[in-house]
Symmetry: C2
Subunit: 331 residues, 2 copies
Amino acid sequence: MRIIVDGFGGDNAPGEILAGCAQALEELEVEIAVTGDRDKLLACARERGLEEPFRKMEVLHCPDVLTMEDEPGSILKEKSESSMAVGLRAVAQGQGDAFASAGNSGALTVGATMIVKRIKGIKRVAFAPVLPSTKGFFMISDAGANVECRPEMLLQFGLMGSVYMEKVMGVENPRVGLVNVGSESHKGDPLRQNAYGLLKECGEINFIGNIEPRDIPYGQCDVVVADGFTGNTVLKLYEGTALAMMGMVKDIFKKSAKNKLAAAMIYKDLQGLKKTMNYNTYGGAAIIGAAKPVFKMHGNAQAPAVANALRLVRDCTHSGFVELIAAAVRP
Amino acid sequence: MRIIVDGFGGDNAPGEILAGCAQALEELEVEIAVTGDRDKLLACARERGLEEPFRKMEVLHCPDVLTMEDEPGSILKEKSESSMAVGLRAVAQGQGDAFASAGNSGALTVGATMIVKRIKGIKRVAFAPVLPSTKGFFMISDAGANVECRPEMLLQFGLMGSVYMEKVMGVENPRVGLVNVGSESHKGDPLRQNAYGLLKECGEINFIGNIEPRDIPYGQCDVVVADGFTGNTVLKLYEGTALAMMGMVKDIFKKSAKNKLAAAMIYKDLQGLKKTMNYNTYGGAAIIGAAKPVFKMHGNAQAPAVANALRLVRDCTHSGFVELIAAAVRP
């Protein structure tokens, strides 16, 4: 298997990306191709003592970089020679089995749709991160690719998410829930009411009905279905609230010598909690619905998170996820 | 000042409601009238040793109760003689200065709109809870009264929220932010794009632009403007995530004898955090835009939370909030 990695996406590129790729080469039995400026990549590899693993990677040379400030549509125009665009074209043309980038999510979504293209029958790709819950993990589908949605799109987000959670994440008979303002079927606006009907009628998923946002952190369902606006709100508020709470607990522990001692006593368990609630543990978000595996790594991912993400990319690709989705939507 | 209280709204009615009213009578220099079945209220007062404060309350007798299972619209039909409906009619007719209930939010919103009526010029009432942040507190406007909104409604939610935070909560020049998927003005769907324009043009508020959900817990703005679907999602996910995190920290503290000792060492500070993050500290949510002060108390409020809520009701009524809103929307 050959994974193409955007060498210049994310806050810590190219250093942490290269280091993560090096770790992946060692641990994952995959080939790696990196996109970006060859000279800069080589210089960076030297600086970090990564010449040897770097020699094992192919470089898809391109001088340009698409930044966080660029418009999503720029990937098709002025940034069509950027490390992200080149990687997407390479995977679309079969030069690799999957593509991963820690760069601009909006551009990656546009690129997945327009360069890699969608699976036949899929109306829209979804941004689908896997996040920690108190009991394990769950997926949001869609967490931001589509701010405006129709009911049949929400049905597909649920279907694709269910296949992913079962085949890639190993969840048996994944519970699919629709984010809504109440549990009863008539709740919400027409989008929710109609999506509820479609999800309920779909025989291929385990639809458990509406899920109220307060139950999401407790892992009440495995696939949280939402329009991209709501899903993005859930994603960002969940991350923000968890971080804010951790910060407040940390502040308490720093308040006095006595508190510092107490912190030292439970340090190991607190680190465990921090790891549980760290979204980097689950490695990244698939852009599901694209005709090849395309992954978004966290923008501030460091080497271990990059390696984690590449493990997920490998498992996803190995599962034949794209073909499974194609089979599921075949009329 | 005379506050009318729904004696049979919420999970702990009438016991905790009566006890909270008794506390309010003692602390707040207000008169209290309670709605509900007179005999049941009297029996409850006796059982809890509250005969003396109960004698000081007026009872607006009505045998019926509107439950959490009732449809919101039932307040105008089969439940028009319930403790909630009777209280709303009483405040509408000037038998009291404000109304508070811990019962069914949907029915209370319908009742505030149809029985108490809206302030002239206000398109929709908003459900506007005040919640804790890491730095203080903030309001969500609207947190669930209107699942479908137009841009001019979001403008009014911001305007009303701003007046409330300034005049009732004492926040100087409140920062008003629009919940959106990105900070730039063009982000989001047409509802967000158009609301952004209206909020920006409005000279009477301190509009700071879009706010991303991850910044909400840090108190980046004082009034979080949202359509009711998004606002309700923010409200419930925020509460749920904070509770889940507190639960996980608590589990760590119970894990071993050593951890229990550490917990004991920082017990007082942890209680402080718990209090900070307890939405009951801020007493309740105003239904802003109604022609009289109408308040929702938390459904599981106990006596101290009820008393806190009534303090807020008193302060809000005292501020002349309704008249200030009426003046702000006058063309």
